[in-house]
Amino acid sequence: MSGAETTLVAIRQDDAPTGAGPGSEPLVAGLGFEEVAEPAAPRRGGSLRGAGPMRREDLRAAAPFAEAAETDRIMKPGALRGAARGRDLDSLTRTLFLRIYPVIAIVVLLTQAGIAWVNYADQLRLYTERANLLAALTASAIDRPGWERAAGTFGPQLQALARDPAFRYAALKDGQGRIVGTAGETPRGKPWDLVQVSAALESAGSPGTLALVLSAEELRDNAGSQALLALGTSVVLMLAFVATLHLNLRRHVVAPVQRLLVAMRKVEHKHWTTVDLGGAYRPSNEIDAISQAFNSMVEGLRSGDEAKQLLQALERAHAELETANRQVIESIGYARRIQASVLPDPAALTPAGVDLAVLWEPLHLVGGDYYWLEEIDGLSVIVVADCTGHGVPGAFLTLIVATALDRLLHERGLRSPAAILAGLDAMVRTQLRQDGRGAESDDGLDCGICVWDPGHRSLRFAGAGLSLTAIRDGAVARVRGSRRGLGYPRTGREAPPEADSFVPVEPGTTFYLMTDGVTDQMGEPAPGQRPRLLGQRGVTERLAARAGEPLAEQVAGLERDLAAYRGGQPRRDDMTLVAFRLG
């Protein structure tokens, strides 16, 4: 049995719930005989094997795939490949025929022979009885005293016997065995063709015997023709059986299995093909059941394959994004080094006796927050600026501010915080071309400036959108700058320029310049509550609680406090805080 058959039987035994038993015959017996559409390939030849070699070509035409090399790589040991070409399916028909037909043929022959034999024996018995009766009747008609001499009596009687068509020969003998009279010819031929009987004549004094021979040739001829008939029946039966088996196997086994195999071959090459059951699905039909299981398997493979491809596309996109992101981050990391190198050393004012600590933390590596510390002409200048935006756009603005500040301090020699703010305002507006109509840029900055004159112990402050906070003995004082920032296109509603504020400097006072990113910390809201900003008061309370600590520790502690307040909430903005104590 070939591989395909074995497979089919194995599937049936494993999966079919109502298996009749192993072997090929039950497979055929178990198949439904409902109409199944003929396959498109034309039928070729009438013999069992006739369609075989041609159908291989048909299948290739139906499934024009890349040939041997690829298939061999994918499919080993190749049972499916061979089966798909139809060879093994034809041998299924042949095997079934060779196994079933001899049994049927022998049974038919034996049955017919048996019937012929019984008929023959029966007729032979009837013949013998008829011969006995004829002989007895004739003998009794002849039997008269002195019959052996009355040839006129027994002669016609013997002649009358010849009227029987089977009659061959009759002999009348007297008591001494002499032949008194005969009719017919002495029979020649084989004894089994003849029926020989005799009847006794028992009249007193005239004993005799009548021997009668009938021909049994007719019986033999009858038996012979019956045997021929049996043989003919067997032949007709064989032809009918072959035709029926072939037709039904083609329709109900080979065609659907071939459709299945063609589909399997396509699926091997990832052509997701299902088998069309044509609405004729019957759960009791094993091939239908297999086809349906195959269809669901193909659907599963198809969706699995699609999911795999989507995943691959996603992974590729993810890798590209990762690369792009890494490049951006590397670039911004580089920018951070540049921005950090523009910032002053936090210890720049230590020689001037200013105790100072800085918290500078952009939201995204670089940012719009900027500070400047410098001792010029014995004056300590402390500047904190918060440009609009954060990240790269904010960082661009800080460079404009840094350049402007440098020119204001060194070229124009400005030392008044309010004058510096006014100068910054004008220069930024010029730089960003915000002085014309239809300005592209709507950017600006908040800024707070302190100038400490240790000789006169005077601290001057001016702010634009930024305040100076002073904490002494737990008391918080706030010197508010003007509400509006610097830069931005003019609206015609600008407040008049601010003047410097002179801030009293008591011993033990700590001053803070901070951007709104420090106070605008969004806290993790309690369930059912709205998120709330920490605010100015929240920050100063935390600073006051750490009033006794050295400034560096105080700033580090504040940073931890802020992180604790945010909880899971992200930071919203860059943050910068400059804390200082004046000696």
Binding site: D442, R483, T491, T519, D520, R532, L533, L534
Partner: protein, 129 residues
Amino acid sequence: MSRIQIAATERSPLVDFDFASGRLCLRGESYPEDAAAFFGPLLQALRGHLGASEPEAITFEVGLAYFNSSSAKALMNLFMPLEDAAAEGRPVTIRWLYAEGDETIAEAGEDFAADFDHARFELVAEGHA
């Protein structure tokens, strides 16, 4: 355009500018990466409405839990044409909503209030939602 509705995101507020009924509303948080891009179309629509419509009453409700400085500037730009319209006689009310106890937002509201002479500016403390 008689109504602009934009759903809130993590970084931008809910916008509901119902010009037909004269009710404008901003709620949520506002710190978009590009504030000008977000608020620009709103400002244009507001100006267009103020220029084209009859001087009917307008109420602008702003309830922001956080806004960055760019958004503050953009809010100012939205308030200015409203104040101008109020100066020309249109009844304009700004309702500045802040969570009770949120001094930062309340303070910002006070700062904005100083800009209004003609429009009515209400500071409204809201209880916990």
